[in-house]
Symmetry: C2
Subunit: 468 residues, 2 copies
């Protein structure tokens, strides 16, 4: 045996010591790993099967099988008559240095976007899962309809017509992985039609920019006032598509006026354009009935997107889009090439949950919890940072707080809050507008925090500001 | 009241008859629908709240609330002092004529691609679901890591290293919605790097063409022989990326030779290119150990994609991709903009299922069932269509059958089979090659059929061929 053979022999000893029924596989694994890691270099000649078997004290058949298997896979090569060699085919992986994200030192995090994950209806969901697994036909486990399970599309269409006043034809409803995927799908379809720009609200969600960019569509900030998108800049922008949040604008919290809704639709018809309505938190309205969705006014110009991310949990990745007839086939084909459709078990469980009334119960439960938290937030501002004006309070999971200049200036305010372990996001992180005054404008997410934590967070900020 | 008011009055009667607690909402729904459907035309003046309330026999507050709500939503407009009108904003949906797919008149369907859906391990899956819902931390229900749950990435990395001989670093494993999404992700990343063409095996899967086209990447057929891709045409093609099925080529059923594996990797290194290994049925091998994956030979040049579509069910939409370090960040960002990541509950359940050994048990169960069906197929050919050569039988869920010319010609053979209600797909549906002889070459999927059904299907074809 050569010295290389000797190395192989030592290396292979643990495999030879494996229980008999695993020994062959163990031998192959160790040999493969040795080649891959370079411990057996390319060109190294392996001992004969007879010699190696004798050295290891295993049957010759086992060694022959290992050589054959690794030769078939390309790790070894075998020249008839002259033996077996390590081939030059294998290369080791480059070790990747990927740091895992460290936990930030935040005690109370008011950054918006997450519901209270502890409100996820675990037992009701488990019951729906059991029911689905017990009665779903086998056939439904095959490749899905990319639009979604018919039973879910019907359940959601009825729910959305009832709760959100949309025109909800199940044939035009596409189940998708939340509003993010709906945005990407919409962007891909616009791009295929030659559109390269889409308007977004300013202030608005920078995430829209990243999603549309992935579809090759650039976002253009369009200024908002207290009624909705300003018509002049919209018309002057030259875009033929916009994404908007008219029910509870993100982040400002306003509800678009009826006039601006009508103006937007007139504009869309005039430019032969399309609107994506992002109804990200339309389910939550505290003091009156929710404002019906824009889509209800013109389902041929408005695509409507929503999800279960706020009502159930973002980790569900379950959402829906109602699509204008003219875009439907393209959206469905994009959805198909993106993932062939959403997982069917999840869809069947959500259908069960909606149909049996679980979804409505869940919304009522969340509404109660979130209203209480909102009220705690308003009380905490009154007590600890008096004079703060809070707006956008009628709906949703966040508000805008405008803290008077005397608590500022904003950079000092944010720095002190951060030192106190309170995560806050300024309004100007969500757009291009920079106010002339020195007030501190914040987007405050409160839904994921208990009333006590909400109060603690605001108190910590006020205390930090008093320290010099 | 005007005549339009009269129309509205009749229209609204059912709403007025609703139970008291639903009456306000019912009124709004009927009114909204009437505007939308054009039954109340734009410009129509509505009766005063006092008059309508009296006519309907409901409280005036209810009517006022309905008018206000629909005005806020844009269906109505209200001119202070002069009353309420139907606005011009609302447009009805275009009725879509979307036929639902009719059931084809197929008695036995040998078309490949689907496993036996009745083998889905319902009770084991239900147990894993229960376990996950009972102990998953709330935090895990938030927005997911787009790469997938760490616990699943670790479980899959260990499984794939053990079963498929891949280099499986959990940090480089991206959980995705099956091989289809892996292909689209790979295509998007190639496109972003300026590549516009990718080679596919001929014969191969036309579906690859549709997936890559959605990413803006054109597919180029590259001829295969009995060892794998032919090196000459590969080099001459000018492509710098290919997608291949070396373990059990689809559809031919061959396993690539070690030499062709090495040649492909040499080519990839020489052109600074990438290989996508589609290991669509690598879990199923009947007569010996599976051939290890190509990715194990060079994880920096080969992306490896697989899924639970064959082992569990296509409707799960759960797959994985091992990504070369150089492409990883781009793949993850694409995955993020496509859907933000896979649903977390499904991922946690699969992790539980793999970790507790359920996945291995499921594979053994499927192997036994599918081997029996394969043997039934071989026996049926021997009995009913003697002389048929069946290849690619060592692995997977399908085989290639070459039926002698005397049972042909192919068009007649396929027509007779279709008349007998037997679904068959000819090999030439999967590529550009057209054989010179008159043999009938078929791609036969058998895994989803019981042994008795397999035998019946082949018998039906033979009987149909005997009829004149």
């Amino acid at each position: 045996m050569t010295s290389q053979g000797q190395a192989a022999w030592e290396l292979l000893l643990p495999a030879a010591a494996a229980p008999a029924r695993r020994r062959g596989r163990a031998l192959q694994e160790v040999l493969r790993e040795a080649v891959r890691a370079g411990r057996l270099a390319a060109g190294t000649r392996l001992p004969s099967t007879r010699a190696l078997a004798a050295d290891l004290g295993v049957s010759r058949g086992l060694v022959t099988e290992a050589y054959e298997q690794l030769t078939a896979e390309g790790y070894l090569r075998s020249d008839r008559g002259s033996g077996t060699w390590v081939s030059g085919a294998a290369r080791a992986a480059v070790p990747g240095a990927r740091p895992t994200a460290g936990a930030p030192g935040v005690r109370v995090d008011f950054r918006p976007g997450t519901p209270d994950l502890s409100l996820f209806p675990r037992s009701a969901w488990a019951a729906a899962q059991r029911s689905v697994l017990a009665r779903l036909p086998h056939q439904a486990l095959g490749y899905p309809d990319p639009r979604g399970l018919p039973v879910l599309r019907e359940a959601l269409a009825a729910l959305l017509a009832r709760r959100r006043g949309v025109v909800a034809d199940p044939e035009r409803l596409v189940v998708c992985s939340g509003v993010a995927q709906a945005s990407t799908l919409f962007g891909c379809v616009l791009h295929a039609r030659g559109l390269r720009r889409i308007g977004i609200e300013d202030p608005g969600s920078p995430e829209h920019g990243r999603l549309f960019a992935s579809a090759g569509v650039e976002t253009v900030w369009l200024p908002l006032d207290e009624e909705g998108l300003r018509p002049g800049p919209l018309a002057a922008s030259g875009v033929r598509a916009v994404v908007v949040t008219p029910s509870h604008q993100f982040p400002s919290g306003i509800s678009w006026s009826a006039e601006r809704r009508a103006t937007l639709l007139d504009w869309a018809r005039a430019v032969d354009g399309y609107v994506l309505e992002d109804d990200y938190d339309g389910d939550f309205r505290y003091d009156r009935a929710p404002v019906g969705a824009l889509q209800g006014l013109d389902p041929e110009r408005v695509a409507y997107a929503g999800s279960a991310s706020k009502s159930l949990a973002p980790g569900m990745r379950l959402g829906w889009m109602l699509v204008p007839e003219a875009l439907l086939d393209e959206v469905v084909e994009r959805k198909r090439t993106m993932d062939l459709g959403n997982p069917v078990l999840d869809q069947a469980v959500l259908a069960e949950f909606v149909t049996r009334g679980g979804y409505d119960r869940q919304l009522r439960r969340c509404q109660r919890a979130y209203r209480e938290r909102r009220d705690a937030l308003l009380a905490a501002f009154d007590e600890h940072l008096p004079g703060t004006r809070v707006s956008g309070i009628a709906a949703g999971l966040h508000v805008i707080a405008r803290v008077p200049e005397r608590f500022g200036p904003p950079p000092r305010f944010l720095a002190r809050a951060a030192e106190a372990g309170v995560g806050l996001r300024p309004l100007d992180a969500y757009g291009t507008a920079r106010p002339a005054d020195g007030d501190v404008r914040l987007v405050i997410g409160y839904a994921h925090l208990t009333p006590a934590t909400v109060a603690t967070g605001i108190r910590l900020v006020a205390e930090a500001l008093r320290r010099e």
